[in-house]
Amino acid sequence: MSGSILGFSLPTFWVGLMMIMLFAVILGWLPSTGRGETVPLFGIQVSFLTLDGLSHLLMPAFNLALFKMSLVIRLSRAGAKEVFQQDYIKFARAKGLSTSRIVLVHVMKNIMIPVVTVLGLEFGGLIAFSVVTETVFAWPGMGKLIIDAIQNLDRPIVVAYLMITVLLFVVINLVVDILYSVLDPRVRIQDVKS
């Protein structure tokens, strides 16, 4: 729990800097900034298919994941704390189910809804709003695009960016809503009745 508070509180940009310091400058294991070598895939240059590109991806990806990890830890802890007090958990215990089965099947299913909701929204945010990480690691993504556009007062780019972002979020919300009924059958039954 304290670990998740740490992950929650760590300023993203500072962690990025310290990671560059440790892994790029002191240890020299990973490249510090940029995107690395690219190969064309359906006419688009992508970096995640080359080894060099993947090594460039490692640090920014971990930096972005750190915050989400602690978010998921906290969400599932809060959910599990409430679910553990429910009668069906007691019943499952009384039935003699193993702890791992209770946790992985009975508890997990019931805490998944808030986790999926938040992760879905955060996923959109990861693509569109990771301004800080992309600035620190000089990653040519959407976040870097928007902050450069704001600083250059490049309004068409800002507007186009906002439109794309809206579309992205609408699609993600749709997927999350569909996932709800997969995860929790009660959602589907209620919808049929109403």
Partner: protein, 308 residues
């Protein structure tokens, strides 16, 4: 347990006085956890440092008569020519990093707490109004809240500061606009529950004014979740302010916060001069962690659903 506390809490006539007030109960529950107690003490120390920064910092880092360019980029634990000890080293302009951190803490905490309190007052009163009057007012306020919450904090702050420009007042405005919706939503949720209770009905029957019912009767009963949001949002505000300053659109260079100190060290990173951004980052981290830990414990203590 109650027997023990009663013997301690006797007044002069030997009559036991009532000990189980909600506040005492709350304090006892809070300090039950050792980590939370440590976090609370650490938070008090940080606040002390921030308030009394000019008196306890070894040098004044922004007094140009004291700062010597010959002392620039000294590593931690080095002594300058005139005998000043630099515990955490110096930055590119020869300023003592420890003193800079104390002054930066002052700015960061000031901005965070000020924006948190203003946002609480604004969001709190709007949320209370929405819950108490209901109907159209509720719909209008809560739709604005929904719109506000659908924008990510960092984007709103970025665009606002790009429009408003730099400055302490401007960053507080931006942080308030980012945060008020959280307060409004939290207090509305608890006020909706409280509003249906009998005491509010009784107060209405006594023909008390709306203002009196809202602030004297409704507000005190909605405070617990609010306190949790205040701590969490203050930590969030400090972190956001540091991020904005790091991106170069937050505070002006004349009023350096911890985020600016970290940004200053960015250019020295590649030449192994780690301390310029490392130590301000640690200070920022400790501040945010302690506030979050206090908020976390408050949430556990004040949450009626998890009562033992």
């Amino acid at each position: 347990m109650s027997g023990e506390t009663e013997t301690i809490n006797m007044d002069t006539t030997g009559m036991p006085i009532k000990v189980e007030t909600p506040f005492r109960l709350f304090v006892r529950d809070y300090f039950e956890s050792k980590t939370a107690t440590a976090a609370f003490i650490a938070m008090m120390i940080i606040v002390f440092i921030a308030v009394f920064a000019p008196f306890i910092s070894p040098t004044n880092p922004y007094d140009l008569a004291v700062v010597d360019i010959m002392d620039s980029r000294l590593p931690p634990f080095t002594e300058s020519f005139n005998g000043t000890m630099y515990w955490l080293g110096t930055d590119g302009a020869g300023r003592d990093l420890l003193s800079s951190i104390f002054y930066g803490l002052r700015t960061s905490l000031g901005v965070g707490v000020a924006s948190g309190l203003i946002a609480m007052m604004l969001g709190g009163s709007l949320g209370l109004m929405a819950a108490y009057f209901g109907g159209k007012i509720d719909t209008i306020i809560m739709r604005i809240v929904d719109i506000q919450l659908s924008f990510p904090a960092i984007l709103v702050a970025l665009i606002l500061l790009a429009v408003l420009g730099k400055g302490v007042d401007k960053i507080i405005v931006a942080l308030v606009i980012v945060q008020w919706a959280y307060y409004a939503r939290t207090i509305r949720a608890s006020a909706m529950v409280e509003r249906r209770k009998e005491y509010v009905e009784a107060a209405t029957c006594l023909a008390l004014s709306h203002r009196r019912i809202v602030f004297k009767h409704l507000l005190p009963n909605c405070l617990p979740p609010m306190i949790v949001v205040v701590t969490v949002q203050t930590a969030h505000a400090i972190s956001l302010e540091a991020t904005l300053s790091f991106l170069g659109i937050g505070l002006p260079i004349t009023e350096p916060s911890l985020g600016l100190l970290i940004a200053n060290g960015f250019e020295y990173m590649m030449s192994m001069k780690y301390w310029i951004s490392f130590f301000p980052g640690i200070a920022l981290l400790v501040t945010i962690v302690t506030i979050n830990m206090v908020g976390d414990q408050l949430r556990d203590v004040l949450n009626p659903r998890l009562q033992k």
